[in-house]
């Protein structure tokens, strides 16, 4: 049941990414190119997502557990450490080079696209390298 729910949520998430334009590298470049011809569309993606997600997190937080009775698995870290800053900077450079972030990388595998497959394979390799280097870690 929980796996089926996760599948449907992935499906909704993927549909949202496709409809919003997040799966198109040119859309991402247009948003990040504030010194060229700037496409502010992604502000609307974030704005829409934040509105609904914030309501969801407040509701879940008040209840203190999921509707199925499971404890909420929330990140426990609070400190802004060098790992956070370095990781975000490295991710940002990769995002700016290819115009693809993790979820759209997976969604784009649903198309028969060689560049999408190359990017996703490299991304998974990068995650595997981290997994080998750091072992198991609990984060968001």
């Amino acid at each position: 049941m929980k796996n089926l729910i996760a599948f449907v949520i992935g499906l909704i998430f993927g549909a949202g990414l496709l409809i919003s334009g997040m799966t198109q590298p040119e859309k991402i470049f247009g948003f990040l190119d504030i010194f060229g011809r700037w496409d502010p569309s992604l502000i609307f993606v974030m704005g829409g997502a934040l509105m609904v997600a914030a309501i969801g997190f407040v509701a879940a937080g008040r209840r203190g557990k999921s509707l199925l009775g499971d404890p909420l698995s929330l990140p426990s870290k609070n400190e802004i450490d060098p790992r956070l800053l370095a990781g975000a900077a490295i991710f940002g450079v990769g995002w700016g080079l290819a115009g693809v972030c993790p979820a759209p990388a997976i969604v784009n595998l649903g198309f028969a696209s060689a560049p999408a497959a190359i990017f996703a394979a490299a991304m998974l390799a990068g995650m595997a390298v981290y997994g080998v280097a750091q072992g198991r870690s609990a984060d968001q």
Partner: protein
């Protein structure tokens, strides 16, 4: 600052954003989990007991183009980046999101909607790094390398 009105898509982007937010709200309320793509996927290396749940979520992402394809609403991605750049970028995105414990969804959507200071800082950093990279590639080095 010049706005690219030709490619500006406020309504589809807002509609897609609402769906992304809905997915995040459902994940925390039904599964008790934060919907961060890099952490859900990255947590498969190495696999643990919750691997089936993570793989189900990934399967949903993969099925989304098929679902929208039924309504002729799935546009395949258009890549103009060369293969070497794609490989380097993929490695950076994969490693960086794991080191920084989140990506656009985990930090940018879920973390900010929880008002997490870590996520607000991380989102600012990856946005600035992305803007600086695009500036370098498009306006300093020149036209992006096309394959």
């Amino acid at each position: 600052m010049k706005i690219d009105w030709l490619n500006f898509t406020p309504w589809p982007s807002l509609a897609g954003g609402l769906l992304i937010g809905l997915a995040a709200a459902l994940f925390i309320n039904l599964n008790g989990r934060v919907m961060g793509a890099s952490s859900v996927i990255g947590g498969l290396f190495p696999p643990r007991g919750d691997a089936p749940l993570r793989l189900s979520f990934v399967a949903g992402l993969l099925a989304a183009p098929l679902l929208l394809g039924l309504f002729r609403a799935a546009a395949p991605p258009v890549f103009e980046t060369n293969t070497l750049t794609l490989v380097v970028a993929g490695l950076l995105v994969g490693f960086g999101t794991r080191l920084g414990a989140g990506c656009t969804s985990g930090h940018g959507i879920c973390g900010i909607s929880r008002l997490s200071p870590r996520s607000i800082v991380a989102t600012a950093v990856f946005m600035i790094a992305g803007i600086a990279t695009v500036f370098l590639v498009r306006h300093i080095i020149g036209a992006p390398a096309a394959s």
